[in-house]
Symmetry: D2
Subunit: 342 residues, 4 copies
């Protein structure tokens, strides 16, 4: 008996990735696809320009799209692939109506009583759900996952916390799929780098403090670290790459960092990769084209760990629409099933 | 009466750029092209796969290539576009034989009595020439220009020195032309980022300290700053982009930094751009494809100057084979003519 | 005393190219920039995202945009960079009001009394202007230039007509700039080829017959040739490449074809290239990145002329937004000035 | 009991693809990897820069490479991924020594007594094996598969033969992986098209005549068709795209062609795709990035079937290193097992 799940914003790039990852999922079964007004009543297979692989999964081709309204959605969990402004209005309607909302949207990530969760990092923040339901008198609730660039970064910062992490500088080289479709014009990015992504640096600087923060039984106390980000778009289809500098309160060696990465535990969930962090020793890895599908896109790959005058620097790569978006929401939902929250 | 100049290593990518920039130069005239053994005696126009523009300049098509040996080279200045290991052997032979060697090679950059010069930054280091000639008993001498990534960076660091610059972190996104030809295989870089360039980070971390150092009448005292670099190759033909974090000994505002950049003086040399640093206010500039040819490739373009918890961050872009290589050597030679060193 | 010219649709990609090419034009001076409703009254320099080079020409930065209405446009010639549907309505209003309309739009290209002109190919078709004015009772008139892919092709077909050209097959590999801005999404074309361009094959198959046709004093009799096109988009910024097969009524040799190309006469107009067709003998030319700027983008470059079982095949490359669009319209206007039609 | 297979030239791009496709093969098991002199005795996992996916299969990592000499190779079948000049010398040594050589090299493709086979097209040509063995007195034999571009093309030509195929013109847009590694320099292909691939047009024009020819019991009578090819390299990682014009002896409709493609039978071999030719009806398909992995890279995808003045034109895409190289040789070997030739 699989759990019925719906996708809100099913026609966009992340929406399609949700659909792709949910095909043949052992625990979940797509029961509804919700889309914007103009697409309601239309058949998913006729309406959507399928972009994430050669062929759309057969199981969704004949689904008639429904409105983004709890009344029309038959599901236990709704995955939200909505743009932030739409999510802001739509998601509370679903949680109020008793749905579990597992959201990739940024709208509620930084709200005090909404968990911002990466299962391997801060599953204990799910306790905020009770706070949220009490505060708001809702039957359902919203659980969010971080921004794609934040996720890759924080997966590597978590094991560094106990080494005395103090501050982080990160320069990202982000893939085109992160901007959706049509997204970045080819004329803008061919033979080029665009050193700006709207709103991104702010998210990468703020979200990690919440995720790495301590839940005190009532709220999350932000982690006492500082992050400074510089975000850039490069001509890569999928896979974000980040150059990270981390400073510590004490002297830390390359081997300690490598070991901390290697020791990060994977959870035993359907979408969990065998290894959360894969450390590569080659001098020129990770690379997005070669490493983005590691662990079916759910691992992050780290390399070039080296020491500088102040601390450590390294490179991390991960799949931005799998581990960084749809896969992140699905993993959160799996965690909630396992923890019997759903 | 133009000064006769030769190019050593004239067939490679940087060698071709020297040839291109020297065509119609107001002060210089190509009198010899020197190449490796197997090409000696061959005609430049027949032998070279011309890559830097549609057509090879007519003035060099019929030149017969000579050996990299002072005996066969009729010139006052030799520009060196040699790989480091070859430069190490060849350049001293020319300086010993009385030639002025203006070198883009890395072999002698960090040697104590060899000037490492960016005209707008440390022209006073040319005084090392006298030290060098005395030390070595040479009639000629070697003057070097920095690594391409270093040049863009240091042009922006120079005006920050008097604001109390303390430390620098830089993530580069470097163009393909910097790796020469054949250089980076297309299979390696298409839909990809390569987070490693052999030897590059070391150069970017050490060269700035010498360039920004003080000449004490005898040697250069390295500048008391620290640089940490992370260097990456991206799918861009020409133009390096660098994300820079700078920390200061005191609190510094965005406006001060912008003003310091704007005030950087250009020299009145034939290859000097009107503005050394062009500051762009658009939120998404500089971009290599749009900005690499600013000032005929001799300006660097800066944008996105912003404050973080510790200091300032910004983006700088410049043309790696013009301002960052051949144009840098030529500008050094022009400076020496103007200063009557030649 | 320069002729006053306006650009209709001045903010788009081709509009910007018109502005760029008209800066410092010896005969023309931009007197007005017309744009769509929502931009009227706004300042060009504030409103336009300049895409065709680093910096917008200073002479247009402060121009206030006017409506696409003859009443508000002070000019002798209007260059039309409008999309076809808008051109269909707007261009006749200008010609009726006495303006010379030099149009890059497709709306009127195939209309019987409208000249479709490439100056080096069929300048005699300008005699249709009198027919047009008479037919329509207009003071002004419309002159069009062909589709970008057609122009490259027909410039090479013209000299083959007297060798007995019978039929043409052409496979195009077209640049991204031809689709305007935002145009082709990067997610659609990165690591990809799109074997379809809306409406393109039809234009490439029909326009050449009119251009190469004979003007009988009253109308154009289409040339008795057949063209079959297959049009594809590739990841190139500027410059279309076409693989062409031509069959003849008689046996034709490679040398005859090369000679016919070489002998094509350039006109003595300000935008004329020194050579209309540049024939390259290297085995791997022409290439769009290397050859698109030949003759300031107004030459086409041909190579790989070879014989097959039926006829000849060759490759042609040209700059799609210069020779293939804005430059084509400007060259037509220059021709009309020289022929004293204006 | 799996059949033991060796790969000759195991370190190159196609060699790696053989290794990848042979991992977990139901009938074959890699028993030896042969490489050039300088690599003999070295461990595959240490020596090879693995390029075709993130991780090298575990089963080959510890294999010590052996010389390309029958004495040192323990296997029943050898797959040859050798360059043509090496294949010319090495392959006969193996066939003489009794090995079955399934070769992707071009050296023996056009030799009279060597089968050039695509299983779905001309399996009956395998009867040439007996002729070959008799002619040469060999215990083993050589079976070849065509050039990558030829394979995609001929898979679509085969079903057209009975519609009265007369002549073919094909313009290819070929992927970078086809040139091996390092292959095409990034500086040569970025923002560019290279309209030349050494030797390719000749292969594409000659091989189809042999493959589509009739085996008369003794030799192959070439098919009475004519092919003219224009081959171009584009910036695509994997997947060749071909624009094809086919003329017939009679009038042929789009629907007949589509039906002929759809009806092409797949064989029941381990590497056979469910459908040999997938016909897509969308106006802009096939596209290499979306369609290259159809049928695990063993299908070809056809679209845009349309009529012109003389016949039919269409687009075909396929994976050049799977269906076009390593997968083609493996499919041939599977066929020979099934037909009990091995």
């Amino acid at each position: 008996m699989k759990v019925k799940v719906a996708v809100l914003g099913a026609t966009g790039m992340v929406g399609q990735k949700f659909v792709q990852l949910l095909e043949n999922h052992p625990w979940f079964k797509i029961s509804a696809l919700a889309a914007s007004e103009r697409r309601v009543g239309k058949i998913y297979g006729n309406e959507v320009t399928w972009l994430v692989s050669a062929n759309m999964p057969k199981c969704v081709r004949d689904i008639e799209m429904v409105p983004m309204d709890p009344k029309y959605v038959d599901a236990d969990i709704v995955f939200s692939a909505l743009p932030s402004d739409v999510a802001k209005e739509v998601e509370p309607k679903f949680s109020e109506a008793g749905f579990v909302v597992a959201s990739n949207a940024s709208a509620y990530r930084m709200v005090d009583d909404v968990p911002l969760v990466i299962p391997e990092v801060n599953s204990e923040h799910l306790s905020l759900i009770e706070v949220q339901k009490k505060n708001r008198g809702w039957d359902g609730f919203i659980v969010t996952n971080p921004n794609c660039t934040t996720i890759m970064l924080v997966l590597t910062l978590k094991p560094l916390m106990e080494l005395g992490l103090k501050s982080v500088r990160v320069a990202s080289m982000q893939a085109l799929s992160g901007a959706g479709y049509p997204g970045v014009p080819s004329m803008a990015i061919m033979d080029n780098v665009i050193p700006y992504i709207s709103g991104e640096e702010d998210k990468v600087e703020k979200e990690p403090l919440k995720i790495l923060g301590k839940f005190d039984g009532n709220k999350v106390i932000p982690a006492p670290i500082t992050v400074s980000a510089s975000c850039h778009r490069v001509a890569v289809v999928d896979g974000h790459t980040e150059a990270v500098w981390v400073d510590f309160y004490k002297d830390v060696e390359v081997e300690e960092v490598a070991k901390a990465f290697e020791n990060m535990k994977s959870l035993n969930l359907p979408s969990s990769p065998e290894k959360v962090i894969v450390v590569r020793m080659e001098k020129d890895r990770p690379q997005p084209r070669l490493d983005r599908n590691e662990g079916n896109g759910m691992s992050v790959v780290v390399g070039r760990i080296r020491k500088d005058a102040w601390g450590i620097k390294y490179i991390v790569t991960g799949h931005n629409t799998v581990r960084g978006a749809a896969g992140a929401s699905i993993l959160n939902a799996e965690l909630m099933i396992k923890e019997k929250i759903i």
